[in-house]
Symmetry: C2
DNA sequence: TTATTATTTGTACGTTTGTATAAATAATGT
DNA sequence: ACATTATTTATACAAACGTACAAATAATAA
């Protein structure tokens, strides 16, 4: 599809910043360090296809076609399929983790010697993800959908653990400090519920719209605020009751 | 792998009740209505493999081997792959839906003219699923894991909608009655969060154990109680705050 | 200039995929 | 007894899969 690259007419391709601004690739060693750019293009294509069709549903050939490259270029840059998959997850995981760590340090600095408010912790963990997923960038939107798909699958949990568990434990420890009356096991349970809800919101399955009967997609900003309110109350209930 | 079927030694196969107690099938028309039994066996095998490897990760050949049948027998009984998948989901969806409807009617009868307590509604919706998934039956355990995998995927949401949305709407309507101060959109959001948490608990990914540092798997009964407490408080916060 | 290195292309291999066809077999209906 | 029906086996097929090899090409290094 879309093989009319011969005439440079005013198509979407020329108006929007695409992932392949250079046109069809020519063989030969590229100038300077163009490899990084090609890798990004492959990662973007893979990200979208893995999000749409899942790990097994998206083939290396699909990725190559979407990136405008030959099949072998994928393997050349990323090795076997599973390595490509891990690279897709890893790329934005690093960014997301940094945002969350910064938000946590910020909250710690503001709280001083006192415990951080639960609402602040929930906000700090969830906000970077939901904001990234709903701020227009299709890359982040695809990534969020992919994370949702991964959440309850064996391969997915293994990769998520590798990239996200350290920071998750930091937040859980801080939640325990803020909820001295709550059992630690229950706090982990609440944290898991929070993550599940966050991923559900960003997966854009259309189910909430269907269940509420509205045709228009819901406002992610509003979903975010509701999530914070809802889960903050949930956490507090773990400390007070029982 | 495991191709030493020549000698009938004391292996797990001979000790455990497998899905194929009748031994290898022989061609020819079976006595009476044995077809239903074969279909169940195929559904059990497909359920397990779809849960473990996902829709694209599990092949029809895998299912046939697991059920102890030839490849074509799967197509003979269920048609194309997607029909088999739908049949897997549908089988227990009917049971689950009945349990939930019964629980809802029960709660309505007990509440009389009053609104049903939010906690009762949360309990009624979640209990059949978590109890089925954790009551020892590997079929239900596989089914629950499969549902978790489906939750945030396009194919999955479509199938889930077809089988579960009607009852979900009933519960949401009742939740709105019990939360007169809450916005209907927020209630749907809370309901989605509740379902996501429920599926996460039953998917048995091992992440909560990893995050809490314990090696032993958590008690599902306890997770269930925590879920109800947590989400009931969340719903109530939607009505009181803002 | 010449040799080397990085990257893309084109092609190929063996396996696995979903699905289909044809024959064989045994219970059932008449 | 005989034709019919339901089901399993065996085999086949075209397509798609992940991966690999060899050649071509262009930038860089010597």
């Amino acid at each position: 599809m879309n093989d009319d690259t011969s005439h440079a007419s005013l198509t979407l391709e020329t108006l929007l910043p695409t992932d392949a601004p250079d046109g069809p690739r020519k063989p030969g060693r590229p100038k300077g360090n163009q490899s990084a750019q090609t890798r990004e293009r492959i990662l973007n294509a893979a990200e979208q296809l893995f999000a749409d069709r899942g790990y097994d549903g998206a083939s290396i050939r699909d990725v190559a076609a979407e990136a405008g490259l030959q099949v072998h270029s994928i393997g050349y840059h990323f090795g076997p399929k599973e390595s490509l998959f891990d690279a897709v997850v890893a790329r934005r995981a690093e960014i997301m983790t940094r945002l969350r760590r910064d938000a946590l340090e910020d909250a710690r600095a503001k709280a001083g010697a006192q415990a951080i408010a639960v609402e602040v912790l929930v906000h700090a963990y969830v906000e970077p993800f939901i904001k990234s997923a709903s701020h227009g960038d299709p890359g982040w939107r695809n990534y969020a959908a992919l994370m949702g798909r991964l959440a309850n699958s064996p391969l997915g949990t293994e990769i998520i653990a590798r990239h996200y568990d350290v920071t998750a434990r930091d937040y859980i420890a801080e939640l325990n400090r803020s909820l001295p009356g709550a059992d630690a096991l229950d706090v982990v349970e609440g944290f898991s519920a929070m993550v599940a809800a966050m991923l559900g919101i960003c997966s854009a399955t259309g189910r909430p719209e269907r269940l509420s009967g509205r045709a228009t997609p819901r406002d992610p900003e509003r979903s975010f605020e509701t999530l914070v309110r809802f889960h903050t109350a949930g956490f507090l209930a773990l400390a007070t009751t029982q």
